[in-house]
């Protein structure tokens, strides 16, 4: 990237309200450093506590989601992903993207499509059901409590959005993007 392009990149990030952007490898240390930065940025903006907590929670779920699920066979060097936090039209947004195996795409759709159609009350009820269910045994890929996407959906003030990019030159991996507005 030359300096003119970098200037365009900066201006675009600024006009879109980007407060924080990271791309690269995700590790526990990187997430620790990111979490300090995100909290500092939110505090510097005078974000009310309740809203700041929701943004932070969404950020953390997405960051740990990349750490746990970004397919490390897609790129040499581990769990690669991107994450952004910003503020636009008076609301915060949190975005993330990471490579996933194409054969996991249907599973993602099956989890996310119903969440996009649910009301907040329905999301809360689904969260409660999942919390009280003994296992997440129906899903051998999940490494957590099966509450990650539900938590993001519950924090968001509008339906969460996702996007999957298939690349012509790549049949085993796709790019998965997720967006929550808080």
């Amino acid at each position: 990237m030359n300096l003119e392009d970098f200037s365009v990149f900066r201006q675009r990030a600024s006009s879109d309200g980007v407060l924080f952007y990271y791309t690269g490898e995700f590790s526990a240390n990187v997430i620790g450093a990111m979490s300090d930065t995100v909290r500092e940025r939110l505090e510097a903006l005078g974000t009310p506590g309740r809203l700041g907590r929701k943004v932070f929670s969404t950020f953390m779920e997405m960051a740990q989601n990349i750490l746990h699920y970004a397919d490390e066979t897609a790129c040499e060097g581990g769990r690669i992903g991107a994450l952004a936090v910003g503020q636009e039209h008076g609301k915060f947004y949190v975005l993330c993207g990471n490579p996933v195996r194409t054969d996991h795409v249907e599973r993602l759709r099956a989890r996310l499509d119903p969440l996009r159609r649910m009301t907040l009350d329905e999301i809360k009820a689904a969260y409660r059901d999942q919390l009280r269910s003994d296992t997440n045994a129906g899903d051998p890929i999940s490494k957590g409590a099966g509450l990650g996407f539900l938590t993001v959906a519950r924090e968001a003030s509008e339906p969460i959005d996702y996007h999957i990019v298939f690349r012509a030159d790549e049949s085993t991996h796709a790019e998965f993007y997720l967006r929550a507005v808080i």
Partner: protein, 130 residues
Amino acid sequence: MENLHIPATKETPEVRLDPGSMSFHLVGESYPENAMAFYAPIRASLQSFLEAPDSARGVQAHFNLRYFNSSSTKLIRALVGMLHQKAAAGVRVIAHWYHDPEDDMMAEFGLDLKEEFDALEFNLVASETA
């Protein structure tokens, strides 16, 4: 039964088990990368704490959490479930669930626990500091 004290880290809460006052404290934030690895030994310690003869005198538990991630959620609920079992067996167990007054999610989570684990004396406490 000895005291247990695990100091807080950036990503994990302070944990205290005090047989003298028969109290359990979980204080701070919980978002470890591997929540299961963090909570498994706490679960085991709480179990032996609750099995100690002194526990018949009654138990106080304090959950003062500012934030926890989704993978900590079920494990924290499981700790409350263990206290509930003790209460259901006839021991007086008082659980205090502290939440920031502005944090509706934390309050709601506490309310759900209170409804689900109804053998406990469950106090929801709105409090500024964690």
